[in-house]
Symmetry: C2
DNA sequence: CTCAAGACTTACCAAATGGTAGAAAAATCG
DNA sequence: CGATTTTTCTACCATTTGGTAAGTCTTGAG
């Protein structure tokens, strides 16, 4: 018998995979259990209900996402281009863990049962990012704009990237790294033009 | 008794609404029927199966989408900015019929049972757009790039718009027209810089 | 008026779904 | 080892699901 939280981790991983591809409603606990060579009741023992499993997967994913971005947000080497750092690290997450973005996409859907929880879970990260941006604005390193707006736009672009990767795969385009890089550039230049103070704009 | 295709139309409309919000798997024929004050078997009578209903909704939506873009693609007043026309009309569809974009989003998901059909349905529109772009390239009005790539990028941006609108609503942002306009501007400038021939670039 | 075709309904059903109850096995610890 | 707790399983169950079969009702043509 698997000691410690090993089984739990396995369930979480497979659940993320399933939720982010075939969706929450499309995932059946029986199928999930079979894929893990486990009985359904083991899943329910660890997570109480299907909804509980979704919440756990969500919490876990947001935690990982937060960890990936935390270091960039807290790093204080202000001389480097931090916007570029931020965009770069977000895109790294998107490319390395497309499932995670797929989950966000699935869950941020209007009718999703987990939308409120996603909002709650993401808000610390969001406020942190907004606080950072406003600090930058205060010091004059960043133009005064609606931080929340810019953030959401950037967010949806990244989630869109994950979508795009799948669309490209469907359409038969094999290499996905090139368009990803292109899109990153697009986002970066958008952020630059909307954030760089006017007097510093040389581009 | 409703003559002509009235009932059929009603079913299609509600199905689009349901599929694009709570998803295909999340939609039950019973609920759909109840919402229409109809018996489930009436739905099955018209569309044979749930999958058949999805296909019908898909065909219908792609048809509407195609009609919206057809006129722009066929219009031959080459002196005006046709890229702007195209982007504008696509965004008009996105804002007026967010459900349609929601459906695309739902259906272009990796595990979706309708992904292949979507590809088939969309490909005429896609090839038409690509042909148009290549024609423009040939005549020198457009820079030589990978037309398919640009198209897919633009496509995912538009679908992302629908997503963004919902995210903004979830986050409590009321006015969604401003970010939509902003994003349209973003897409437009992206397309301009990547499509305008170098010798003509004055921006 | 008749009658065939179309539209819609009632009656059912097998399979799948999320979930409960409680036994059995395994791990932990004194 | 023995007792207790944690983990996993077998056995069920109520409900929902998409779908079939067979009617009833409506309409329109001859």
């Amino acid at each position: 018998m698997a000691p410690r939280g090993e089984t739990k981790e396995r369930i979480l991983a497979k659940a993320l995979e399933s939720f982010s591809t075939i969706g929450y409603d499309g995932t059946s606990l029986d199928d999930l259990a079979e894929a893990l060579d486990i009985r359904k009741q083991t899943i329910l023992y660890h997570f109480v209900s299907k909804r509980g499993l979704l919440n756990a997967v969500l919490d876990d994913s947001v935690k990982k996402l937060t960890e990936s971005l935390e270091e960039v947000l807290t790093s204080t080497n202000s001389n480097r281009d931090r916007i570029e750092d931020l965009v770069r690290s977000v895109f790294r997450v998107a490319l390395e863990q497309p499932l995670l973005l797929g989950l966000l996409r699935e869950v941020s859907r209007p009718g999703s049962p987990a939308a409120p929880r996603l909002k709650t879970q993401m808000s610390p990260l969001m406020s942190r990012a907004i606080a950072w941006m406003e600090e930058e604005m205060e010091s004059g390193r960043m133009r005064r704009t609606d931080a929340q707006l810019v953030l959401l736009s950037a967010y949806s672009t990244v989630v869109g990237l994950a979508t795009e990767i799948e669309i490209l795969r469907t359409a038969g385009v094999e290499r996905v790294l090139r368009p990803a890089a292109q899109r990153r550039q697009e986002l970066l230049s958008f952020l630059r033009t909307s954030l760089t103070p006017l007097e510093k704009q040389t581009i």
